[in-house]
Point group: C2
């Protein structure tokens, strides 16, 4: 195994080509590093593609998780400039939308839950404007007459996750990232000045291929738990959280059913309806502790029921796709980003996984953090609580 | 144009390769006629593939339509031997099931509707056994506890419509039917002893191809209304009736949710759940006076809601497909089968369309009727009311 400074196959090998791995590869290559990205190119496996692309720092899942909130605030602050740079580098649109989110409540219990979330937002200095039902329907005329009220969150963004990933891929390719189709099966990352070895099964090569790199970044989402050489405490910390969602589209000549992201709390169930500029509408999502990607009749029924309750005109939309993905959850619901040996700056294995429901949101900030690690500087302090070393 | 007896491209050209056209082509070829079948080979266009394959002589749509009931009785009597012959000719299974149908009622109004249907069946000498809710759940343990009661119909059959069509295609090919991929655009069928000309746009030939045949059979379903030379009164009589349905499958190791076809009347809405031997379950169907094939969120929601009400375990099944087809309805809901000039045995244009919701059921009997016309004999008298000449 060569020491650092000796010849290697690439400065960095990135395992995983979802939004996290691809954003890292692009940013790393932009700093002048040679980067090889290994990805199965099996779109059915990518949680990045089964997402709505809602970008909001506060959701039911971070209510009270202060460290994660800090990180999400860093991430949403970074996203627009990152997206702008990406569009400039590729000539592709990411579908970033800035109309904000209207959260609405179906019954009085839902309204109380919404009010608690509003107070929480106010308490941390974030905008959130409580609106009565009439005002909600002025903003979104297709909302059901029966909704009890809502909250307008002007700071939230959304992005078309599929266009965004496509743009990241193009940007990475333009920046010189070498892409290999295959699966990383194991990593061996020595301590100190030792380079990393990566074992992969590649589509276009027989047997196992071994690559050497100064650093290896494992950004394989839930599949990180299946890669040999990833520390056991990390592999154990990652769990799959299945999400099912629907992609709908408008029939010709039908007015758009929503002008901004609509979140609805329906009898305690949380639903989102995210409109795209091209007329697509994403409805999601379930959250199931399962590791299959089957679309079930029950999930489809529940999503449609709640969507039709909140926004009856959804009935008229056309089914484009129903899909399921496996979000990489972690034991504390926080991402896992940093060198595997957190106290050893020479440790050549870097992890970037566990992004759970916030993968799209955190992708830009994650790329910054990993690019910093790769070039010998420190990530933003908001990342400190999310180093792999915290895992027990 | 050659007179009969002169050289033609085929004895019979059949326009349309759904279950009707393919069954006709097979039976015609089996009598020794040379047959060319022209079909677009666009599966998305085939109502035959978007069906559940329920075979019952009585449904809500024939309640009181005596002529259609007679025809359906002829058809269901013929189906098993036809299917058996088809399986013998091809070595393929059609998925014919003989477990019958259990119709169940959700509320008291539904139960009353079911009782009327039972009395009607008894009145025409058909079996139908009224069962209380407990007995229904003994037969089908996954039925919702709340159902009010049901009726067991032992005479009903079901067939796997996709396997059935695949077997018909193989049988037709084995019998020497020549298959051309394309669309028939016009037919010109002279009276008396004149042969028919068929104009078609074929995938593998430039421009328009003209074929000459002794007889042409138009079995193009709803698309019959778009073929030039089909009498205007026939074209006007055919209307598209869109049907949306779901194909679900069982997860591994899950017991089958139904052992026979279940029809449920849920607050006046009619739903069917048709299980296949391979674990597929078809749930259908909407009935919409529309000519698009879009799967809509609203239809999906309604089907799933009613299915889950009747059979809650449906929730656990996996979505395999959601699809929509256009049934060829007619102005009086009866099929249109016979020579275009009903009083002219030499008229070389034969129609076989308008089968509406009964296309699979009527396919075998339709093939018999058209084969009779092609060979100079008379179809069963049950067909007499369904000649094209009745249309105004």
């Amino acid at each position: 195994m060569p020491a650092k400074g000796e010849s290697v196959d690439a400065d960095v090998v990135v395992a995983g080509g979802g939004v996290i791995g691809t954003a890292i590869a692009w940013r790393a290559a932009s700093t002048g590093l040679s980067v090889t990205l290994v990805d199965p190119d099996n779109d059915a496996d990518k949680a990045s593609l089964v997402a709505a692309g809602m970008l909001g720092p506060v959701s039911e899942s971070v209510f009270g998780e202060r460290d994660l909130l800090n990180l999400n605030l860093l991430a949403i602050g970074r996203f627009p400039s990152f997206s702008e740079e990406l569009e400039a580098a590729t000539g592709l649109v990411t579908g970033l939308r800035t109309e904000g989110t209207l959260a609405v409540a179906y019954d009085n219990g839902d309204l109380a839950a919404l009010q608690r979330l509003t107070e929480f937002r106010h308490g941390i200095g974030l905008a959130a404007e409580a609106l009565d039902a009439k005002r909600c329907r002025e903003l979104e005329p297709f909302l059901a007459p029966g909704i009890r009220g809502g909250v307008l969150v002007t700071g939230d963004l959304s992005v078309d996750n599929r266009r965004y990933l496509a743009a990241l891929r193009t940007a990475a390719a333009n920046a010189g990232v070498k892409r290999l189709t295959g699966t990383v099966t194991a990593v061996a990352a020595g301590p100190g000045a030792t380079a990393a070895r990566v074992r992969a099964r590649l589509r276009d090569a027989p047997g196992t291929t071994e690559l050497e790199a100064r650093d290896v970044v494992v950004a394989a989402g839930f599949a990180t738990s299946r890669i040999g050489g990833v520390p056991d405490k990390v592999r154990r910390a990652i769990r799959p959280v299945k999400g099912q969602l629907l992609r709908l589209r408008h029939p010709e000549h039908m007015p758009r059913v929503a002008t901004r992201t609509i979140r609805a709390i329906v009898q305690g169930r949380d639903l989102y309806i995210v409109p795209r500029a091209d007329g697509e509408v994403v409805v999601g999502a379930t959250q199931e502790e399962r590791d299959d990607r089957d679309v079930t009749a029950g999930a489809l029924h529940d999503l449609l029921r709640d969507a039709v309750i909140a926004l009856p005109a959804i009935s008229e939309l056309i089914l484009a796709e129903a899909s399921a993905g496996l979000r990489p959850g972690s034991q504390d619901n926080g991402p896992i980003v940093g060198r595997a040996g957190a106290d050893d700056p020479g440790e050549s294995l870097i992890l970037a996984t566990g992004h759970f429901r916030n993968g799209i949101l955190l992708s830009a900030a994650t790329a910054d953090a990993v690019a910093a690690l790769l070039t010998g500087s420190d990530p933003d302090p908001a990342w400190t609580p999310f180093r792999p070393g915290r895992l027990g």
